[in-house]
Amino acid sequence: MTTELNIVYFAWVRERLGRDEEVVHLPDTVTTIGQLVTHLQSLGTVYSEIFEDVGKLRFALDQEFVSLDHCLQGAKELAIFPPVTGG
């Protein structure tokens, strides 16, 4: 059984990737967001560039802000985006 996670992208992350969402199959070795980021970096040049400076990105798991060491287990949707700039 493969675990699947829906990832949504916003702002320049979305534009650079050329997509606003995708379903990622999680290898057994990926349990935290940090590990997922490493996995995503292996998917291609654009991914590796975007995730090169992970401090410029923010993560929300099922619509709650989380840090890189947060577990993915049971989550349905991960959002990856730059710091918010509304208001």
Partner: protein, 147 residues
Amino acid sequence: MIKISVQKSDFDAGLEISKLSELGGGAVSSFVGQVRGDKQLQALELEYYPAMTEKALREIAKQATGKWPIHGLVIIHRVGRMAIGDQIVLTGVCSDHRHAAISACSFLMDQLKTVAPFWKKEIMSDGVEKWVDERQSDIDAAQNWRN
């Protein structure tokens, strides 16, 4: 009364203030943010995360009602494309006390700027597009409420 709205359409600040005034608190503070005509700016594009943005604004509103005695508050934030001078955001608070109303209204803006998933893209008159960077002063302002 708590009103949260993320919308494409413009809003009527006067109407929202009237509604807050009807709550009988006696003190109504409000803030309106607009697209400022800086540099070569032509328009602003506001992106958001539909599944999360309203939820984040509700959480900010809840924090405000926990910190101050509030009769009602409103947060309206527009999304989509906006021209110079257009209204982007409104926060308004009604309380019995003027300092509570003013502080809560300021708090809503400071929190909104740092935790509500909105992203601004500047579209310049020469067609160049630029995503707006977060500002340290906004982070500091939001942090100050925790001290």
